[in-house]
């Protein structure tokens, strides 16, 4: 599928399209960064309410305000925000309310890798298999397999991720007792041994499986539809008239061209994929960002919630940016 000439490394990365995307990404990052700062200030009343300040004496209230930094001017607070989050390491996103005095960063930095593991593996599998399946379906469109898959894909669109997770737990963990229903490991994670990795993968199997079932059909559907369009293009008929083999036509030309919109789609849908992953984590008590967000939401742990929102947005931003890079590398028509 990828001949030697299909990639053109460093020179393409200098393209103006990519530069434009970098600038956009930075702007968006900045906007999200500022939004993240603003949110807690929209309802200061409720922030205080969470700490039960209605029962506090005025002196205590002042002390609390000072501790939370809410008694300074807005611009002072913003400067402090930038200093805390950008200029210190580890970044200071505040202190968790519910798990006082553990810093927010500690909680988030532990949860983040788990989420990355879950999302990374599940999307890698779903996307690559989905794209191949989509290519095959487009080539054999109209067949029973094609119609069946179309039905499945359309159905999967509306399936809530946590519901699917529940059903899978019910079937595999409770009824069949094949896989464990919860957590990411049994016992405490002590080292990075092979046994530990095996343990993690065994526990992660169901969550990953859930996400793959959920996302693969959608990837396949988008790829299939795009490729059906590509197959109608004149150059495909010209390629067939040149006496090229079927495999070459399907993969080397049609799929290769149809791949580009599939990449953009992955990027656009990443926010939804992430949200779905969070909900799956909750069901499986899988200790990632989703699990953390649920716990924090119920406990009204605002600093943690805001940090999770921030990092979630960052993940989406990074995913989009990586997709932009991939697109630049794969599509020679992107302007120099």
């Amino acid at each position: 599928m990828f001949g030697k000439r299909s990639f053109h490394l460093p020179s393409r990365l200098k393209s103006s399209y990519l530069r434009g995307r970098i600038i956009t990404t930075i702007i968006i990052f900045f906007v999200v960064y500022v939004i993240n700062f603003i949110i807690p200030h929209l309802e200061p009343g409720s922030v205080l309410a969470a700490v039960g300040s209605s029962n506090l004496l005025p002196a205590q209230r002042t002390q609390l305000l000072q501790m939370l930094g809410l008694n300074q001017s807005l611009s002072q607070q913003f400067l402090e925000y930038v200093r805390d989050t950008f200029l210190t390491f580890p970044p200071n996103f505040g202190i968790s309310f519910a798990h006082y005095p553990i810093p927010v960063w500690t909680l988030v930095s532990v949860a983040l890798p788990w989420t990355l593991l879950l999302v990374g593996i599940s999307q890698a599998i779903s996307w690559s298999l989905g794209v191949l399946l989509g290519a095959w379906l487009a080539w054999h469109r109209g067949s029973k397999a094609d119609s069946a898959m179309l039905g499945v894909s359309n159905f999967m669109w509306g399936v809530p991720s946590y519901w699917l997770a529940t059903i899978l737990i019910f079937v595999f963990a409770i009824k069949l007792k094949v896989f464990p229903p919860a957590l990411s490991t049994s016992g405490v994670l002590t080292g990075f041994t092979f046994a530990q990795v095996e343990n993690i993968l065994f526990h992660s199997f169901l969550p990953i499986f859930t996400l793959v079932i959920l996302n693969l059909p959608v990837y396949a559907l988008v790829m299939r539809n795009t490729m059906v369009g590509v197959l109608q293009d004149d150059f495909m008929r010209a390629a067939e008239l040149r006496g090229l083999k079927s495999r070459t036509l399907m993969l080397g030309h049609a799929a290769r061209n149809a791949l580009l919109p599939s990449i953009t789609n992955l990027a656009l849908g990443f926010g939804a994929i992430l949200s779905g992953a969070y909900l799956v984590e909750i069901i499986y008590s899988y200790p990632g960002m989703g699990y953390l967000i649920e716990q924090s939401a119920l406990a009204r742990d605002y600093p943690v919630l805001e940090a999770i929102f921030f990092f979630s947005a960052m993940l989406v931003l990074i995913a989009n940016f990586l997709a932009d890079i991939a697109y630049t590398l794969l599509d020679p028509r992107v302007e120099y």
Binding site: V32, M156, Y162, I167, S275, I293, A297
Partner: protein, 284 residues
């Protein structure tokens, strides 16, 4: 009068959509759900919050889906839940589509600096992960369906805006637009009376997507426990199902149907939307 024209156009489109099997299924499902939602009081065997039996009953003739932990009939809840879910889906989708189309039309038609600015704003909104943001907002503001609907609507118009904008850009150059301008129409009239009707199938398609994701997101919010309990929806049912140990008890008749309904409603909308997309493809 113009609105009547739109309705007759939609009727025509619906008939075309109904030509394919998948289109028929889409129309059937969607119409079915609307029917159930509207006629819930007459279809439902019991009131959803009335204790009509013993708790945790298995499905039987009296209670088709059994009862929940306080003895309320689950089947009735499922029927009434249609209202809650459909309300969220349709309203949020309407807001989202309205905003998306407005932004898209203006950005595409006027172009230039204001267009660029609008598209930058769209890019930002596009990136925001909806569920985490909703969770943050929902934990600050006391739970209310309207807030949820509003937030979903206000944050999910970006994909629609993008598509409408590129459509507007390509239609703008067509001669019939110039003709309209020469005949004295002002910009707003051209956008609404001339360009928009041409994009109606696309609008419905993206409306369908918006509706599906709104229902799914709202149910996710309910499931976490941040939804409004007063608005009975399938998401709320799932919240209670999992919270009251339906999973541990193996009461699959409790947690299976609500999610299935969400999926089927989504399928109905999507198939409807696909049918509309077929119209767009056939036309071009």
């Amino acid at each position: 009068m113009r609105v009547l024209g739109w309705f007759s156009a939609l009727w025509r489109y619906t008939k075309i959509v109904g030509e394919t099997t998948s289109g028929k299924i889409g129309i059937g499902l969607t119409a079915g759900f609307f029917f159930v939602a509207i006629f819930a009081p007459w279809i439902s065997p019991y009131a959803p919050t009335a204790t009509s039996g013993l708790p945790y009953l298995k499905p039987s003739l009296a209670h088709i889906l059994g009862t929940d932990d306080v003895g309320e009939d689950l089947f009735s809840q499922l029927i009434w839940g249609t209202r809650g879910s459909l309300l969220v889906g349709v309203t949020a989708a309407a807001i989202s589509v309205f905003l998306g189309v407005s932004v898209g039309l203006v950005a595409g038609y006027h172009g230039g600096k204001p267009g660029e600015v609008l598209m930058r704003v769209t890019d930002v909104v596009l990136v925001l992960p909806l569920l985490p943001l909703l969770i943050v907002i929902a934990s600050i503001v006391p739970s209310s369906v309207f807030v949820v609907i509003a937030v979903i609507g206000i944050l999910s118009w970006a994909p629609t805006a993008r598509v409408i904008r590129s459509q507007t850009l390509s239609l703008r150059a067509r001669p019939f637009v110039d003709a309209s301008r020469l005949s004295g129409m002002n910009d707003l009239e051209i956008m609404v009376k001339v360009l928009l009707p041409n994009m109606l199938p696309l609008v419905v398609l993206y409306g369908a997507f918006a509706a599906v994701s709104a229902v799914v997101i709202e149910s996710g919010l309910d499931f976490i426990g941040l939804g409004s309990i007063s608005n009975l929806s399938w998401g709320i049912m799932l919240y209670f199902a999992l919270g009251r140990d339906a999973l541990l008890r193996g009461s699959w008749w409790w947690f299976l149907p609500p999610g299935l309904m969400i999926a089927l409603l989504g399928t109905g909308f999507i198939l409807l939307g696909n049918g509309m997309e077929r119209i767009v493809r056939i036309r071009s």
